[in-house]
Amino acid sequence: MTSTQNDFLSTLSKGKEEDILVFYQKVFPKVSRFIVSNNGRVSDAEDIFQKALLQVIVRYRKEPFAIKTSFENYFFTVCRNLWRRELNSSKLKTHHLDTLENISDVEDSAFAIVEQERYELFSEKLALLSENCGNLLSLFFKRTPYVTIMQKMGYNSENVVRQRIFKCKKRLIELIKKDHRYDDLKDI
């Protein structure tokens, strides 16, 4: 993390209104455009933006953490994930309302934070793999059929693709398990 990003995150975590306002002016339009173009409304973008800000500040206050990209990009990913979570949770509620009945707003926010931490651990390790493995697994996680991956990546058979994905996934799992954060996040 560059010192500028570090300073910015640390400044924001102090929770001063003027710093938050400057950040709003800089980043909210981009988040709003993304949510509105993905089945949301401006009011949804406002909710997500506020939740993301609170999440980042609370996390940083608990344990200062490092980010390897620009803070704006990082924050946008947090918002994008919260929106993905929101869309998927609406789907879940439609079918499994009973299982979600006992979750309070605070609990839900706590879950959203650990889920983001888990996402960061997984994506960080995915980025450490070779370019070929990274591309293969990205397609695999997007549930792309083996035949399409075969054609796209120029493999001779689906079986070769399957074996290659298995090896890459095994390497990814090893990297994830070696990281100390995994122990903290695995049973959540």
Partner: protein, 264 residues
Amino acid sequence: MMEDNILIEQYLKGTLTDAQKTAFLKRLESNAVFKAQVQLEEQMLAALGETHWSFANNTSHARVEAYKQLLESEETQLVKSTIANAHEAYKISQENKSKATNPIFKLRIVASIAAIFMILISIFWFFSTDTNTIDYKAIATKAWKKDVGLDFTVRNGTVDSTKVNLAKALQLYKNKEYSQAIASLQKYSNTSSHYKDILVVRALSYHKLQKTSVALQTLDSLRAYTPRISQWYKGLIYLEKNKLEKAALYIHIPTKENQEIKLK
């Protein structure tokens, strides 16, 4: 026998046969290492797959508990209200910006200067002026007190057990025993009589327990039976959460102090 990696993949894709799935679930129950492996692969698929999301559900986990405490702390509540204030300030600055760049607005400025003169004169004619600050909290409290949809009564000697239980649940709700109110209505489903009233008591109890998303979801279910009551409470809940834009989708929010909230 199928290799584990293929087996897990087919399970996550939902392509196992019924017999294979039964055996798979049985193995999950009895083999902790296998269960952890499946869980990790499931989480990776959901988290890195863009269209899905990997939800956590272990409420008693130490990390979740630590975040819950932090989120409930006074300092976090303070940050929350600072964020809300910054949000309001941002909205006002955006409104002013769009007005300033609008040519019609520039013409309006000229007209406004002329109008100021008229306003100054008119001030002399009024002994008091309306305040622009509306106490939404007070207006909302008044609206909540109307107890819309909670007017079901039970006559002495009634044999309708659902209605009797409903009245008891309402009493629990009024006594602020919200969890008990919900528990007392748990056995009822959409085939029960008075289901509309059951949903109202459930939704309001969830709201009071700060389980906002479940309260709103329950009100969505209520919409099929009585859209007006569903709309009324969704509006009030959003208003209470200070989400005026969302509240305005369901209710008319007063623009003057002496007005009341009305349904849209």
